[in-house]
Structure formats: C-alpha cells, structure tokens
C-alpha cells in the first residue's frame, strides 16, 4: 500500500518503549528479526500487568469484594477490546484461550466431533501451520471424514481452481485456512474461500495468528465463522489468545473443557452449561495476561494497523531487493505486494541452522527450521528454510545487518 505521511510510523521512537532493545547479544545490539515467532513487549504492557497485579488482582467473576470486581472489570474490559479489534458483533462471541493453537483445537474438537462423519470433507491448505492442520487431520480420521488440501503454486499462492474437484469428493463441511502464512507471508484470499465454503454449506475457520498483529481484521467483512489469534505475536504476554465464533454456532456446540466457571448447575445426575462465552472458559483463566492482551491491543491500535502494515511493507521490499542480489540465495513465496513482513529463503549449500548460527554471532536473530509447516516444506522441496520477519519496531539498518551477515555466511562456507 502507499505510504503517506499520515500512515507513517516512527520505528526509532517506538523502540524506546521496548526495554529489550537495550540488550547486547555477543556484544552487539540485537537485530530481532523473528517477530513472526513472537514479538517483544513494550513497557506499557509490562507496566500495566505489574500494576494490575499490585492493585487489582483476584480471581475473576465470583468474588463479591472490591479486588475481585476490579479484576473482573479488567478481564472483561480486555474481552471488549478484542471484540472491537476484530469488529465482532458481540463480546459474548469472544472466548479467551491459551492462544491461537488452543482456539483452533477448540473448534476442531467441539464443533468437528459432533458435525463430521463419513462422506464429509474437511478442507485445509498446503500452507497451514501445524496448529490449523493437525487438529483437523486428527478429527477427520476420528470421524471418518475425508481430509483434503488446497494445493499452492510455485509462488506459494493457493490454487483455487482445485476447489471444483474438491467439491466432488463429498459434503464439504469445513474450510480452514490461515489469513497470512507464517512461513511465506502469503496473504490468502479468505473472503473468496469463505464465500465458497458457505456455498458448500461449510463453515470457514480462519487462523489469524500472523495477520491480526499486522493488518486490520474485520470478521464481518471476511465473512468467516471462526477466527483465532494470539496475544504474544501482538506485543502482549504469552499464554493467552482469543477465539471469535458466530454466536449460533457457539450456542450449538458442546464445551471443550469442563470444570469451574463453565457450568450453570451441577447435580449428581446432570450438569448444564453456563452462557457464552463462559461455557468455553473452564477453570481460572490467564487473568493478568488477558488484561495485558487488552493493553497490547490499545498499544498497537494507537500506532495504527495501516501504519504498521505500510512500515512492514517498506522493510520487506528492501529485504527482498537486497537478498535477491546475494548469489546462491533463493527467496520463497509471492511478490512483496501479496505478502506481509515475512521473508523465507535458502542459501545454496548452507543449512539454515548454520545460517542462523552465524547470524546470531552478528547479533541478528532469525528463525531456521520448518516453521511448523512440514507439508509446505515438502512442497517446496526443502528440509528447512531461514526466515526473517519484521514488526513495528524493525529498522532498515537491521535489514542491512541481515544482508551483511548473509554475505559473511557465504564467505565462511565458500
């Protein structure tokens, strides 16, 4: 997208919010290029969580004393922030989970077990992270449903012309896809898939773990039925995430976990469930983490998702141009216009772990491995890739350090 002064963010100024950037690794400041795995935390989130523990902490929902009321207000306030962040119709449709992984497992189990059977088809893509792949593969096997995948082309983009053939295999009941690929950064056509899914009478499940921190999400515009994302990839604490689901689907579903909070009444012979969203929040939740998640949403929203997207786009263009100049380096995935701030690549004759190790000595932190996308690695014909990923605090000179480090890797292995 076009970068205008109104949408520009000042990464250098924002970095002052992040204590970790004062840290030296191997005597050098860290060029942290692994934000797709997890992001660093701003002081605003760290301070707010500490303050919450010091002044407002107790268990939520049942206490009648002041501290419990404060804690509940903080926790439920965060739920409303999540709702607004993804433009969901109601905060009753927002369920706090341990993260995107648990949210996707919740849908696969609580919806899948009761709604899938022989003759049904579960559709995922070759691009999925294992967290939106393995639960569906497991539940499909368990229920006798067929497990079909949408293939990708050589640029890592979904081949939607495969959909007609997939539709002939049975009753398509679920389409599950990540809005943004964690390995390639591909932005997937989820609106189109949701329309197709609904034409088949299927539900559309969206893994937004790599999308929600980086671009505006509107569940109503996407037309999906479920959407999952994590706090820790969005400047918030780990251990908490959210699932949004359509109310009528959530109402029909049985609980995923059982215990305290999720019940209405329990007798020796029967138990009835609490109302939404509590039906799906058994046990004491990650209270301060959910609160911190809400603060992180405020932090990111104040900077502006458009500004973040534009900033990452500038960096990914810079990185792809510079990496293309390195002999023997091959970039995977689509052109910069159709990806977020993620670049996966391989360097001829050097294993990604050796690349990442040498870059670490240069103070450059990148990810090496299969990125929890083994079917995608198989499709690309590699065992692993090296991945650099950017966020609101990433700087152009960090891209330069990545490139200089890669030249050093090449020299070492020449």
């Amino acid at each position: 997208m076009a970068v205008t002064p109104a949408t520009k963010l000042d990464a250098r100024r924002l970095r002052a919010d992040f204590p970790v950037f004062d840290e030296l690794v191997n005597g050098k400041p860290v060029a942290f290029l692994d934000s797709a795995a997890s992001t660093q935390k701003p002081r605003q989130v760290l301070d707010a969580m500490r303050e919450f523990y010091e002044h407002s902490y107790a268990n939520v929902h049942r206490g009648v004393y002041t501290l419990a009321e404060r804690a509940t207000a903080g926790y439920e306030g965060a739920r409303e922030k999540v709702r607004a962040y993804v433009n969901a119709p109601s905060s009753r449709e927002v369920i706090f989970t341990r993260g995107a992984t648990e949210a996707l497992n919740l849908v696969a189990y609580a919806w899948g077990l009761d709604n899938l059977g022989p003759g049904d088809v579960v559709v995922i893509t070759e691009l999925e992270h294992h967290s939106n792949f393995v639960p569906w593969q497991f539940i499909a096997k368990k229920t006798g449903a067929e497990f079909a995948h949408i293939p990708i082309d050589d640029l890592g983009e979904l081949q939607l012309d495969a959909l007609d053939e997939i539709a002939t295999r049975g009753n398509v009941k679920v389409v599950a896809n990540n809005l943004v690929s964690n390995t390639l950064g591909t932005v997937n056509p989820v609106e189109k898939l949701a329309t197709w899914a609904h034409e088949q009478g299927a539900i559309m499940v969206v893994d937004a773990a790599q999308a929600a921190p980086h671009r505006k999400i509107d569940v109503q515009a996407l037309g999906c039925d479920f959407l999952a994302f994590s706090s820790h990839k969005l400047c918030g604490p780990s251990g908490v995430g959210a699932l949004w689901g359509r109310r009528e689907l959530l109402e029909e579903m049985q609980p995923f976990n059982f215990g305290g909070e999720m019940i209405r009444s329990v007798a020796l012979d029967r138990t009835s469930w609490n109302e939404l969203p509590y039906k799906f929040e058994a046990g004491t939740p990650a209270i301060a983490e959910a609160y911190g998640f809400g603060v992180a949403i405020d932090y990111v929203s104040e900077i502006g998702l458009d500004a973040i997207e534009a900033h990452e786009h500038e960096l990914v263009v810079q990185a792809m141009d510079a990496l293309a100049e390195i002999p023997g380096l091959r970039i995977f995935g689509p052109p910069a216009e159709r990806r977020t701030g993620i670049v996966s690549f391989e360097l001829e004759n050097v294993h990604p772990h050796d690349v990442a190790q040498i870059l670490d000595w240069e103070g450059v932190a990148v990810r090496a491995g299969h990125h929890c996308t083994q079917p995608l690695m198989t499709r690309l014909g590699v065992a692993a890739t090296t991945r650099a990923s950017f966020y609101l605090y990433s700087l152009p000179e960090e891209v330069d350090r990545l490139v200089a480090g890669l030249l050093k890797v090449r020299k070492t292995f020449a």
Partner: protein
C-alpha cells in the same frame, strides 16, 4: 580468533566440504539411520567388520543436514575405524566432542552426536552390544528409524 571462526573452525568446514567415509557400503554387516527432527539432519551409517567379526574394518555414511552434524559424522568415521564394536558401544560422547573441539549449545549438541547415536544403534542391532539408557532416550528423541 573470533567466535565465528571458533564455531566453524577450518577443520569442521573441511570435514563438511570433504566428508571422510562418505557413501553407502554394499554389502554391509551393520546399518542404521536417524534424523534430528529439530533441524531435519539425517544420517545413515554402514559398517563392515574385519574377519574377526568384531573390528570395524570399513565405515561409510550418507546424510544431509547442518555443517555440525555432517562434519561430526565424518570425524566419527575416522575415530572408530579399526576399533572393536564393543569398544565403540561404550565410547563416551566426550571423546567425539573433543575432536570437534568447539563449544556447543544444547540444541547443537544433538546435531553433533547424531552420527554417534546412529552408529551405536547399528552395532546394537547387528552385534547385540549394549545400548546404555542415555542412547535409548536418544533413540526416541532422534527418531532412529527401524530397518
């Protein structure tokens, strides 16, 4: 010497570029293969014994993966050639790590000892040599594949 040079010291890069004992042995008396699921390193080891049926006469390996895993397996072939199976079965990993001679983080340690683990499993299967507990754990962790 910088840390970079230490980690990828010339001898390791030399073994990586020109691996000793590289290639499958057919026929062979002992064989096993394994992978390190963390980084996708793969090593397959083949052994031929001398006439006494005990001494490692020839050893070859095939594999792909990071420089540490492949260089360490290359060094291993030089370390064990001419030794008896039961001796290699109890060979401490430190002996190989001394050869490698660089500090390794816990993650990279697994790369370095992959070949040794695969060899011990191959000898265990062919000769019934003991496979101590530590290596049995490794057998699971490293997915040392059954023949």
């Amino acid at each position: 010497m910088s840390e970079l040079d230490q980690l990828y010291r010339e001898v390791i890069l030399d073994h990586y570029r020109n691996p000793r004992g590289h290639g499958a042995l057919e026929p062979h008396d002992a064989h096993a293969e394994g992978q390190n699921p963390l980084c996708g390193d793969e090593v397959s080891i083949f052994v031929r014994f001398a006439d006494d049926g005990e001494t490692i006469d020839e050893i070859g390996f095939e594999g792909r993966g990071c420089a540490i895993s492949q260089a360490a397996t290359s060094m291993l072939t030089e370390l064990v050639k001419g030794r008896k199976a039961e001796e290699v079965a109890v060979l401490p990993k430190d002996e190989l790590l001394e050869e490698i001679g660089i500090p390794l983080t816990p993650i990279r340690l697994k790369c370095a000892i992959l070949g040794l683990g695969v060899l011990k499993v191959a000898l265990h299967r062919a000769k019934g040599t003991p496979l101590p507990e530590e290596w049995r754990t490794l057998e699971n962790e490293l997915r040392l594949a059954d023949d």
